[in-house]
Symmetry: D2
Subunit: 357 residues, 4 copies
């Protein structure tokens, strides 16, 4: 249960302070050019220490691709990969050995397994998402051969909400600022808020919006593994993600059916929708329009201040985190959202080839 996908399938391993994290990508279509520079750039987008508003940890995160590639192209066989852990300050976590940090997985892992690697959160650390970024980069390499793109950006931090929809911005602009918001003015306000929160030893949550463009109609499944259900599960598997909606989502609830209709029209000889309230998916299957969705991220639970908790002997205890942590995960979660979305998209694109003989 450490896998994502049916055909294009990522399985991950690794703890934050173990020897390495990594994974295996199965089902990479054969013959796709593997662009290692692109991979390195994608990893850099997720890396800690990339700006003043992310954690101060400096990790190199150098990915080694171990198999499945021959003379620069995917061979169709599994791509094993790993990233060695380094720059670990395991001693920072010694005081957490017998404590259960509030809002963390310490207690639940202990109850499930009876044993846990307490250093740096172990398997529950967001460092595991590094493997998702690798899988996502490979998926993007395949998708772009079909003109399909996956983009995400920060659309809310605390109570600062991006005013427009994804159509109102040049999404590429999100990479020009530290919060990864495509609107310069909003980005600046978000960044200021994150700095304030950080100065208080506190953290803040927000929303990431994702967009999939260029996916043809007819991709998805009708009951189990609906395209949006697989997207939702993928997003909810990202650390700190607490909610998912697509199309108008929760905003739909207050509306009437007559307002929400995705009327079909013919444009350039093709069937399209006049609006796209449905978010590109109907009945679990893509309709050829843009797919857009939102992911809610809670504020990180690790505070740089004293916190009350209990230890494994049920005694009260006080905890002061000494690790290096993000005051807001959104900027570094943006590439992870893209990675998960790219993997789900490619998986379903491959699966859709089996609908007819």
């Amino acid at each position: 249960m450490n896998s994502f996908g049916q055909i294009f399938r990522l399985t991950t391993f690794g703890e934050s302070h173990g020897i390495a994290v990594g994974g295996i990508v199965e089902g990479m279509p054969a013959g796709i050019p593997v662009d290692e520079d692109f991979l390195a750039r994608e990893m850099a987008r997720r890396r800690p220490g990339q700006s003043a508003i992310t954690t101060g940890r400096q990790e190199e995160d150098r990915v080694e691709l171990l198999s499945g590639i021959f003379e620069g192209k995917s061979t169709g066989t599994p791509i094993g990969f790993e990233v060695r852990n380094s720059n670990q300050h395991s001693a920072d976590y010694d005081n957490m050995r017998d404590l259960f940090r509030p809002s963390h997985a310490d207690y639940t892992y202990t109850m499930k397994y009876g044993i846990r690697d307490h250093r740096g959160g172990g398997r529950s650390s967001a460092r595991e998402t590094l493997s998702r970024a690798v899988g996502g980069a490979l998926a993007k390499m395949a998708l772009r051969t079909r003109g399909i793109t996956v983009t995400a950006f920060t659309s809310q931090v605390g109570d600062i909400v991006l005013p427009g929809t994804y159509l109102d911005y040049n999404l590429g602009d999100a990479e020009n600022n530290a919060v990864r918001c495509p609107d310069t003015e909003t980005a600046a306000r978000m960044e200021t808020l994150i700095r304030e929160v950080k100065a208080q030893g506190d953290t803040i949550g927000g929303v990431i919006t994702g967009v999939i463009q260029g996916l043809p109609a007819g991709v998805g499944e009708p009951v189990g593994n609906k395209l949006h259900a697989d997207l939702g599960a993928a997003m909810l598997s990202i650390n700190a993600c607490k909610g998912f909606d697509y199309g108008l989502g929760f905003a739909d609830c207050g509306k009437r059916g007559s307002e929400m209709l995705d009327t079909f029209v013919v444009r350039d000889g093709s069937i399209m929708t006049a609006a796209n309230h449905s978010g590109g998916i109907q009945g679990g299957i893509s309709n050829g329009q843009d797919i857009y969705f939102r992911c809610a991220f809670k504020p990180v639970a690790t505070l740089l201040r004293e916190v009350e908790t209990v230890n494994k002997d049920l005694e009260p205890a006080v905890l002061k985190a000494r690790g290096r942590h993000d005051p807001c995960v959104l900027p570094r979660a943006v590439p992870v959202v893209e990675a998960m979305a790219a993997m789900v998209t490619l998986d379903h694109l491959l699966l859709s080839k089996t609908a007819r003989l």
Copy 2:
């Protein structure tokens, strides 16, 4: 891709106007008393025509359990079941044969399969959720032997929002009114709104809240198949569901980490949380507290008024639905939300037994 679950696994079949809908439940634990009266009551909760604010269709929805039960108990072998379709007015749909209804799955199924059963929406009809209700009823029978309950209720219709949280009401009261809202006064306002909308040939969306109680700590998976990710995928697989969040969910995004901490305390000799902002799940694994979540439902797309669309020859067309449809799916979706949640819960409870030898 018509299945849900790993160990406790439901696979469904059937179209709205075919011969029957049904499914197979695998992994029902052996030795559980099978209560056919309870099953019948659960089916009645999902049945069309149960009140003035649901569709006028009268379906008997009699479930026949075909296997896997011996002398009133589950044997551990698969339980096949079916519900024969009847009371079909297939001719109501003749005019839809070559049309693509806006916001429906007509177009996407056609693009995927090249063929579709247009009668009553075929496989994309909400009638398919009848099989989910059967699976859910069986899961509930197993869960109650361990004191685990799953309850859902309508918490929003249009812009009418239930003011309190699930802790503020007697959830059983939801069954006392047609909208399945546990607050009598709010329920009355919701029902009035639905009647208004129906009179206009329109439809309205809303939110359903679900609650799982009594699940022990340590149930769930750490990376793939996180408990909340499986719950989310299950909910998003329900027709018209556009969003899912758990714990404080989207409301978390505007908050600071210091406000959201689930401080551990010792109560009655057990570790519990002071609040339960996390919604009973940390790191994908249950912590023994209540699990609560929300599901956003869009307004049903079938309006009882003229609607513009296109046909398969890319010509403009006007559509007037003649079927019988719900103005608001929420009341009948409540038991489906419970069913899906019960199946996910039982599946993970069984899976958690394999974490140690």
Copy 3:
């Protein structure tokens, strides 16, 4: 764990003396003509009571297809089906309620589940293979649109072994005699042996050979789910099947590599093998040559004579079967071997479409 296949997937349910047996076929490619007459003929081949050397039970085995078909073609959605049980003599089994029949699954089911439906062997009855025959007939309908055929025949009964290989006979001739052996003279000797054994209240085992023709090169998987491993698992899942080999199989073991080489040659502008010792599969993937394999079937364990055993209270007991049973399962297992092989072949043919984008 009641399923076969990844994309084309059959899940079965049902006990011998329950209400019905049946299943769900997922992943049937869309647009395939569904030939119900062909299905009925396939079912007749598996039916009890079809000749003097099979069980005397008379079952109609009428299959009802419940979904997934529209105007005579598959729609790509799951095909649910059932066969009602009738002509049950459950009382024949009353004396077996507390006994464990030797070489049957009575004891193992009881140890696994703590409960069992003792009537007619319950889920362990060969009646379950009826659902396999339905899945196989559907798979054959899809395969024949690509010119792929699957054929099986009896090649050994007791110590009577068909002298030649599958290339030496007109395989269609196997349907002309009750044992389903393509050589008339050998078939007559086999039939005589079965009659003798039957007269003694005894049973006899044998071997079935299967042949898949017309499958293009490049179908299969390289490590897990090798084409021959999936075939082997499928065959070993058939009641009474104790062994499987493909190509020269066990006969290969005594040979030298230099004798066994499948030298490549060019014939009609295509790459072929001079011989076909490998049985059409190399490295788990088809090479375009005929695939051939053998399945070993043990003698049926139900004897029509007194047999010593123990009961659930660990007391010695004597058992006299009163049901109606085959003296030799081979003739009726031939269509089941074909069905399983057809399903595996179609599943892999669909899967092979995902190897490249």
Copy 4:
């Protein structure tokens, strides 16, 4: 499709001449002591160059466990591992770049993927089974905490067949000779034959027998994933394995039911069988007796002599292998058979815990 198992699940990656081979073990039960010395010994049993009758390659095969272990015990999270490739003579394979070696997977991989890593057989190399040995060693560590053992030995090489059954020997003696046959005299004759064959630049096949002891009754599945079907698929996934049977297997076919009955008796207060013709499994589920099975291995296809073949341009070509190869794979396949059997056994043991709540 590079995985084995449902709960205890091994996924492998890697090509013979790539950077590394390795894999991920999911579902290792938590709290099992991980014995790295035992792991090293198991790897040494599979290593090339271990005796005069195996390939002359000298590989260190040092396994690095990368995750899932904390303070010497499994944590329940996935165990990633890798073995770096070294001592590669890739240039030995340059002449095979455009050739299709007879009886190898060169042609079938090319037809499936359109691209292949020709060096050392790539993914189709038996080097991939190194990852199986790692998974098997971990499974054995878990099984031995329950007193369950898995043992295999060479029972046939060419036409030299071990005269007795597994009960007639001290199975541990198999490790005392290079062919891994428990009978000293037979082992010596087998070794002589292998040396002769090797001197001729030829290769030879044989049979490996496996035995699982100590598995309690009630482990397995009734229809899909029967215990022996999963065992069979696991064995058939091993390179060069062409056949599998269990219990009396193919030898059963010539017998009568009355000879083959596994009569139940009570011994030491437990239900056992008088004989064990069924090989410890009835109806797909263990009965508490020893499980024994055979695997047929073909002679290795790589000969150290000139061989005729064709190239990718359909031209005739002559091939002379220059790599280092085993004249007989049996001795080194014995630990791989054990590894696969151990993994299947543990997987089903874990799965059996879910049969009851």
